[in-house]
Amino acid sequence: MLKIDDLTFTYTGHKLPALESINLEVAPGKLVLVTGPSGSGKSTLLHCINGLAQIHYGGKLEGDIHVAGRDTSGKPLWQISELIGTVFQNPNTQFFQLTVADEITFGLEYAGFDNKTIKDRFRKALADVEIEHLRNRDLFTLSSGEKQKVALASIIAMDQPLLLMDEPTANLDIVSIHELIKVLQKLKNQGRTIIISEHRLWYLRELADQVVVIKDGKLIYDSEPDILNCSEFRDEIGLRIWNEPGEVTKSYVPQNNNSPILDITNLSGGVGKNKQIIKNVSLSLKAGNCIALMGHNGTGKTMLSRILTGLQKQHKGTVSIEGKILKPKHRIGKIGCVTQHAEQQLFSDTVLGELLLKPNINSIEGDCSEEILRQYDLIALKDRHPQTLSGGEKQRLAIAASMAMNPGIIILDEPTSGMDMLRMRNLSQQIKKLCDKGLAVIVITHDIELVSLCCDQILWIENGTIAKNIERQQYIKFFNELIKFNTQEGNENEIHGCLL
C-alpha cells in the first residue's frame, strides 16, 4: 500500500534534515504505529506521505513515495488527497462547516460525487464511526471525543486507500479512547490501511501489526510490535507505557506538610442553567501535596478548576485559602493555573517580559523574575519571543509566569497532552520541586503515567462529585482496570462498575 524509498526531508531554512534515509513498506490492511520522542520526525513523516511537508510547509524532499502503486512526488495535493486521508491532532481546526451532517457531506460534494453516492457514503461513515445520533448536532457543542469521531467520519467517507492519523488521542479521555479502539478495529476488519503517529501507545497493543520507531529523524525500528514489551527499549527511547502500567514511584509528600493550604467545603457550581455541574465537593489540601483529578470528559474537572481559580462563581459552598474564606473575585491570581495549551497563556514579546507583565513593576520584582527564569532553565532564552519556544519551553514559561505571582496552589490542566515519556518525567520533576517549595499542586489529567510518577492521591470525579479517593498503593490495580476495561461487551454501568 505504501512504499518509501530512501526518503530525506529538510525543511526550508534548516541545515539538518528532519528525516534521513527512511525506508518503509506497509502492506494493505495493516495498522502501523509510528512512535518516537517528541520532535523526532513522526509528524514530518506523515506530512511527507500526505504531501503537506513539501508543498504546504516547504522543504526539500529526496527519495520516492508510492501509495497504492502510484508515485506521489510532484503531484498536486488534491491528487494525493484522493489516495490518502488524514485525521489531525486538533479536532477544532479540522472542520469547515458548523454541523456534523454538513461536515461529512462537504468533502464528498467538493469531490463531485453524485447524490446517491453522497447519501450512501454519508450513511456508511456515520455507521462505521457510530455517530448516527450526532448527525444534526452543531460541531462546536460536541466533546473532544465526538469531534475526533466526526473528523474521522468525514475522512473515511472519502474512502481513500490509506488513512493517516496524527496523535488522534491527544485530546481524548479514557472512554473516548476505548470507543476509538472499537472504530479502529472495525476499519481494520474492513481491510483499510491505517498509519497512526502516537505517544500514547497502550490502546494500540491489540491493534498494531507493525511498529515504526523514529528517533532524531532516523528510522531505528520497523517490525513486529513485540519490541515494545521490553521496558528497557521504551525507557531508552523515551516511550510511554505499552502493556502494563508503569512503576509507581515513592510518595513525595514533604514531612512538614501539616498546614492546610486549601479547604473546600460543600462546593457546588456550574454555568448557565446547569448550576450543578459540581455538586457538594469537599476537599482539604496541605502544603506540598500533589493530587490528581481524574475522570471522564464533561464530569466537571475543568469546572472545579474554574471555580477554584475564581473564573466561575460557585453556587454554594466555600473555598478558603490559607485559612481565609475568599470570594471568587479575590481568588483570582491566588491559585496559579497552567492549561494544556500553554501558548494561550503567554502574552508578552519576550520571555523575561512575560514575568514582568503587570503594572507598577519594581526593580526587586525584576530581579526575582530573573531568578525564577534561572530555576526553570529559561534564563538563556530571556530575550526570545515566547511564541517561538518549543512546546516544553512554553509550558515551563507558563508555570514560571504563574510562580512569579507567588501562588500557594497551582493547577496543571492536561499538562502532558502530546508529550513523550522523557518530557513527562521532566515535568514530574518540576512538579516535585513545586511541592518541595510548599506549594499544593492539583493535576487534571487522563495520563496514568504522570499520575504514577508524581501524584500522591487520585480523586476520581464522576457526575460533578468526588466519587472515589484512590491512594498510591491502589494505583496499579486501578490503572489495570482503567486501561483494560472493555466497552464492547458491557453497558455503561459495567464500565463504571469496573472503574470504581
Binding site: H56, G107, K358
Partner: protein, 248 residues
C-alpha cells in the same frame, strides 16, 4: 454576551421557520430592511424596530435584543450628556436622535444577528453557488465564516488566561490599562488566528478542496412558498409604513 451568543449559535432549531428559509431570501430581507432603515423616518424606524423585535422573539434572540437596545439607549444617554456639557445647551430634537440611534441601530444589528443565527453555513454557500458565484470566492468565504466561532472561543480562553494572570482583569482596567489589553489580548489573538488559519489551510489541502472542477451540491438551494410569503409580508409592511408616514 459573547459566550451566550456562541452557545446560541450551537443550539440551532431545525424546525424553526426562519431556519428553513432559503438563504437568498434571508439575504434579500437583510438588504431590504437595511435600505428601509437607512431612508426611514421616525414612524418607519419604529415600525421596523417592532417588526424586527417580533422576529427576534420567535428566533430565540430575546437576550440579544435586550442587550442591543440597552447598549444603544446607553449610547444615546452618553451622547446627550456630552452634547449638553460641550455645547452647554440641550439638544434640539432628542426624540429624533433617540429614534435614529436606538430604533435604527437595534433594528440593523438584530437583522444581521438574525441572519447569522438562523443560517447554516452550508445552506449559505449552496445559495451562493446557486447564484453562480465562483468557487474561488465561496471557499475563502466559507472558511472566514467558519472561523468566527473559533475566534469567539479563542477570545474567551485568552480573556480567562489574562484574568488568571491578573492582567487587565477588572472592568475598570479597560480605562486604566488599555495598553495591556492591546498588547496582551490583540497580539495573542492575532498570533493564534494565524496559527489556526495555517492549520485549517493544511487540512483543506489534504481534503482536496483545491480540486478543480464543479462540486455537486447535495441539497441545492431552492425558493419555496415560505420564502415568497416572507418577502411579500415584508414588502407589504414597508408599503403600509410608507403610506402611514404621509398621514402621521
Amino acid at each position: 454576551m459573547i459566550r451566550s451568543f456562541t452557545q446560541r449559535l450551537g443550539q440551532r432549531n431545525p424546525n424553526c421557520v426562519f431556519e428553513q428559509l432559503d438563504p437568498r431570501c434571508k439575504l434579500l430581507i437583510v438588504l431590504i430592511v437595511t435600505i428601509a432603515i437607512v431612508f426611514s423616518n421616525s414612524l418607519m424606524s419604529s415600525g421596523l424596530f417592532i417588526a424586527v423585535g417580533i422576529v427576534a422573539l420567535f428566533s430565540r434572540l430575546t437576550k440579544a435584543l435586550l442587550f442591543t437596545s440597552s447598549f444603544w439607549v446607553l449610547l444615546w444617554c452618553i451622547f446627550m450628556l456630552l452634547f449638553h456639557i460641550v455645547m452647554r445647551q440641550a439638544i434640539s430634537a432628542p426624540r429624533a436622535m433617540f429614534t435614529a440611534m436606538v430604533f435604527k441601530g437595534t433594528a440593523l444589528i438584530m437583522t444581521g444577528l438574525w441572519f447569522a443565527v438562523t443560517t447554516k453555513l452550508r445552506d449559505f454557500t449552496s445559495a451562493l453557488e446557486a447564484w453562480r458565484i465562483p468557487k474561488i470566492i465561496i471557499l475563502p468565504l466559507t472558511i472566514a465564516v467558519r472561523f468566527i466561532p473559533t475566534l469567539f472561543h479563542e477570545s474567551l480562553v485568552i480573556r480567562d488566561s489574562m484574568k488568571l494572570r491578573r492582567i487587565a482583569h477588572r472592568k475598570r482596567d479597560l480605562l486604566k490599562q488599555p495598553h495591556l489589553i492591546g498588547h496582551s489580548y490583540l497580539a495573542l489573538i492575532t498570533i493564534r488566528s494565524l496559527k489556526m488559519a495555517d492549520e485549517l489551510a493544511a487540512v483543506a489541502e489534504t481534503r482536496g478542496l483545491a480540486r478543480p472542477g464543479k462540486s455537486k451540491i447535495f441539497k441545492p438551494a431552492q425558493f419555496k412558498r415560505n420564502d415568497y410569503l416572507s418577502l411579500s409580508m415584508l414588502l407589504v409592511l414597508i408599503i403600509v409604513l410608507i403610506i402611514a408616514s404621509y398621514f402621521v
